[in-house]
């Protein structure tokens, strides 16, 4: 490629505005990251990390009893460190190296061959490094979600070991299958995908994997001592609400950031996310008001999170009006799962990871198939026919992988270092036992 003509150079600049590929390719005089898009990607990455630290830590931390609040915080912090290290070491490469349809390869291990100015790995105008960091934030929050179900009764060492194994068996393969150009379920990017499904920001990869894994893990773990007998109310609804607000705001990075540019699709994702979450919160609280007599702060918060989960796979594919409709489903169906299904089946999903993320993620994947609109996002057009079926196939594969892998890993951990603390330790609380600290010392 010789040096581009003036017209080609103008086309390259227009390509930046329109977030499409540089027509003059390697010859382009603007091969660096595009400032506006790259700025938004850095912001989005910061926002998604904010969802975990401290967002999720507070949302989950407020829901446990005071004696276990630090065990939640330590879980979030430990996973952040562990997954970041694994991601640099090989996780990013296993997720996004071309490899085969089911897993990547080691071509990018330790970020080999990546450069500060490199672009194109994620999308046309964002830095490859930022793409890797953006994806890292997803890899961090996903396992962290699981341990809401197992709260107050799982050893810190077991949490760490389980996470290390689960990343390799479930997360890296799922991220590769759904979002890599060679992935088995990557409808938009892989013409040869076995399952031509779509998942805008992680309904399957993040919420279904964590939700279904949480269900199995909490069943294998067994209920908390005194579950169903002694009350176990949230020790701080204030923290829960603060965490919810941070998750909500951070989720704009999660969903609108998944457009990989500050473009029209990002704007659409931002809007559907905003509306679906706010309205789902209202719907959940109204459902409580009608069925339980009072609208609760926890109801509003649960509905907002459920709305965020449900819209995640659809954010860049559906209209704002579809998002409003999805908000009603998001406010009611997970509500029923949490309020009644859980009681019926009797498992101790302590913080309702399955009820909100498992059920909500599955619901979102289905509704994405229903509401995805070519007028919103052109990638939908060619996939629309048979999309719903593809979504169900993707759901099936995701559930099977999550359930089977989690069961196997859980038993490995159980029979090596063990999953649960002693009864005395559980009664005393994990904060002093596992971490030698107390959450609050007010006197």
């Amino acid at each position: 490629a010789g040096s581009p003509t003036l017209e080609q150079r103008i086309e390259d600049l227009e390509a930046y505005i329109n977030n499409v590929d540089r027509p003059s390719g390697d010859a382009s005089k603007i091969k660096a990251p595009g400032p506006g898009h790259n700025a938004w990607q850095m912001v989005s990455t910061a926002l998604v990390l904010f969802m975990t630290l401290p967002g999720l830590a507070l949302f989950y931390g407020g829901l446990v009893r005071a004696k276990n609040v630090l065990s939640i915080l330590a879980m979030c912090l430990g996973i952040t460190g562990l997954v970041s290290f694994l991601w640099w070491l090989c996780g990013y490469s296993l997720s996004f190296g071309s490899g085969n349809p089911f897993i990547g390869d080691l071509s990018y291990a330790m970020f080999k061959g990546m450069t500060p100015g490199g672009v194109g790995a994620g999308y046309w105008w964002i830095s490859d490094y930022i793409w890797a960091m953006f994806q890292l934030t997803f890899a961090i929050i996903t396992p962290a979600l699981i341990f809401g179900a197992t709260a107050e009764r799982m050893k810190f060492s077991a949490v760490m070991l389980f996470t290390a194994l689960w990343m390799f068996v479930v997360y890296f393969p799922m991220a590769h299958m759904v979002w890599s150009t060679t992935g088995f379920m990557c409808g938009p990017l892989n013409a040869d995908a076995g399952i031509k499904a779509i998942d805008f920001a992680g309904g399957t990869v993040v919420h279904m994997t964590s939700g279904w894994s949480a269900l199995i893990l909490c069943m294998i773990l067994g209920p908390r001592m005194g579950f169903g007998k002694v009350p176990m109310p949230p020790h701080s609804m204030v923290l829960v609400m603060v965490g919810t607000g941070m998750l909500y705001v951070g989720w704009f990075g999660f969903n609108a950031g998944s457009a990989l540019g500050a473009d029209a699709i990002a704007s659409n994702a931002f809007t559907t996310t905003f509306l679906c979450a706010a309205i789902a919160g209202l719907v959940w609280a109204l459902a409580e008001w009608m069925l339980r007599g009072k609208p609760s702060v926890l109801g509003f918060c649960s509905g907002i999170v459920a709305g965020l989960v449900v819209i995640t796979p659809a954010a860049g594919f559906v209209t704002p009006t579809s998002a409003v409709i999805m908000a009603f489903a998001a406010g009611i169906i997970p509500f029923i799962a949490v309020m009644y299904l859980k009681k019926m089946l009797g498992y101790d999903d302590a913080l309702d990871t399955f009820g909100v993320h498992g059920v909500g993620g599955t619901l979102g994947a289905i509704l994405t198939g229903v509401f995805a609109d070519p007028a919103v996002n052109s990638v939908v057009g060619p996939l629309k026919e048979g999309l719903l079926a593809a979504q169900f196939k993707a759901i099936g594969l995701t559930v099977v992988l999550s359930v089977v892998a989690t069961a196997v890993i859980a038993f490995i951990v159980k029979f090596t270092i063990g999953l649960r603390p002693s009864q005395d330790a559980e009664r005393e609380g994990l904060d002093t036992v596992d971490h030698g600290e107390e959450g609050y010392i007010l006197e």
Binding site: P231, M232, P233, P234, E288, R292, K294, S296, L298, G299, S302, V338, M339, Y340, K342, K343, D352
Partner: protein, 112 residues
């Protein structure tokens, strides 16, 4: 000396304190307690799980007074703490053999 222990509704503390002050009793010790009795609590619901809080917040006032003051003090407390509604609380009276003011080593009625 007598020790008067009164379990009252929290929002009555100021009134009780003032009515004791009117008797010239300017010392007392107060603590937050939870009471269980006829008065019914409220119900809380967190997602699936619902439970009733039957331990209600109460204030416990401990005041040690000279024998001759005991009756007046008791009466004042009862009067000030009464709302007539269930849960107003109790007053218990017992004997204290000795009292000492740490600062001065004074003992007996002079100590209080």
């Amino acid at each position: 000396m007598k020790k008067i222990e009164a379990i009252i509704k929290p929002f009555k503390l100021e009134e009780v304190k003032d009515s004791l002050a009117d008797l010239g009793i300017e010392g007392m010790t107060v603590s937050e307690v939870k009471g269980f009795g006829r008065q019914k609590g409220h119900t809380e619901i967190y997602r699936g799980s619902e439970y009733t809080v039957d331990f209600l917040p109460k204030i416990k006032i401990e005041v040690v007074v000279a024998d001759e003051l005991a009756e007046k003090a008791t009466g004042a407390i009862v009067k000030a703490a009464k709302t007539g509604k269930i849960g107003d609380g109790k007053v218990f009276i017992s004997t204290v053999e000795e009292a000492i003011r740490i600062r001065t080593d004074e003992t007996g009625d002079k100590a209080i």
